[in-house]
């Protein structure tokens, strides 16, 4: 039987404390890219009781995604934002989700993320990461962005860390392991990086600006 909204949030308050839960429930987080990083970030934040997620990805679920992304085999072929929304609502029926089945460009980025308190960068391509980080830091005065860089391969998970570059820019990853170097990609290591990004979101909302 699905818990009532009150039961759901009471359980979260018991975990987080009422004060922290209020901060999480009041927050809106934009997740740009819903692949290995983004879908895992979304799951963490939905479970933590973030009030609203803005999910942005133009892609459909593919069989090759199932290896690390939070989609089900039955969802192959569906738009990622639609499939992820379904999965998130099964976990947290009371979360608010805004979906954009679209590619983020320099022309639409500001409109897509303007309501977010925090932005999580979860794209695949390095130039897209650069575009988003530059756009958020140039276009907004207060919005922090947490980006992912370096999570490929089977190297030690202990090499993945979150670094605060400046007041509003955080980078999670090992900084060097590029998926294009042919070193492979595996759910466990990608999830470590995604959890780093999600954890930094929660810490930031609690007022801890250090990783």
């Amino acid at each position: 039987m699905i818990p009532t909204k009150q039961e759901f949030y009471q359980a979260l308050e018991e975990r987080h404390g009422a004060d922290n839960q209020r901060k999480f429930s009041d927050a809106t987080v934009a997740i740009c890219g819903l692949g290995g990083l983004g879908s895992n970030i979304a799951i963490c934040l939905a479970r933590a009781g973030i009030g609203k997620l803005i999910l942005i990805d133009f892609d459909d679920v593919d069989v090759t995604n199932l290896h690390r992304q939070q989609y089900k085999a039955s969802q192959v072929g569906l738009p990622k934002c639609q499939a992820l929304k379904e999965n998130l609502l099964e976990i947290n029926p009371y979360i608010s989700i805004e979906c954009h089945n679209t590619k983020v460009t320099e022309d639409n980025v500001y409109t897509l993320i303007e309501d977010a308190d925090i932005v999580c960068e979860a794209f695949d391509k390095a130039w897209c990461k650069s575009m988003l980080v530059n756009a958020v830091l140039e276009g907004f005065k207060d919005k922090p962005i947490i980006a992912g860089s370096g999570m490929a391969g089977f190297g030690s998970a202990n090499d993945i860390a979150t670094r605060k570059v400046s007041g509003r820019l955080y980078i999670s990853g090992d900084g060097v392991s590029d998926v294009n170097d042919g070193i492979g990609l595996v759910a466990s290591r990608v999830m470590v990086c995604a959890a780093h990004e999600a954890h930094m979101v929660l810490r930031f909302l609690m007022g801890c600006e250090t990783p």
Partner: protein, 64 residues
């Protein structure tokens, strides 16, 4: 002296563009912050470094 990614270097008087080029960064895949403020890519060429400036260049790699 200018701090670039935590290391002191003699870069006073150089533009951000010159530094990025000299260090073989790919402009398409980076973000540059000078004294904790983002430098727009269009401004790399006219942003001239001064003594005690702190430059952070983040070079993104693919995957996500």
């Amino acid at each position: 002296m200018v701090f670039i990614n935590g290391t002191e270097q003699e870069l006073k008087g150089k533009s951000v563009e010159e530094v990025i080029t000299a260090m073989n960064y790919d402009k398409r895949t980076i973000a540059v912050e000078l004294n904790e403020e983002i430098v727009s890519k269009a401004d790399y060429i006219n942003t001239i470094l001064k003594d005690d400036d702190v430059l952070e260049v983040v070079s993104f790699v693919g995957g996500g």
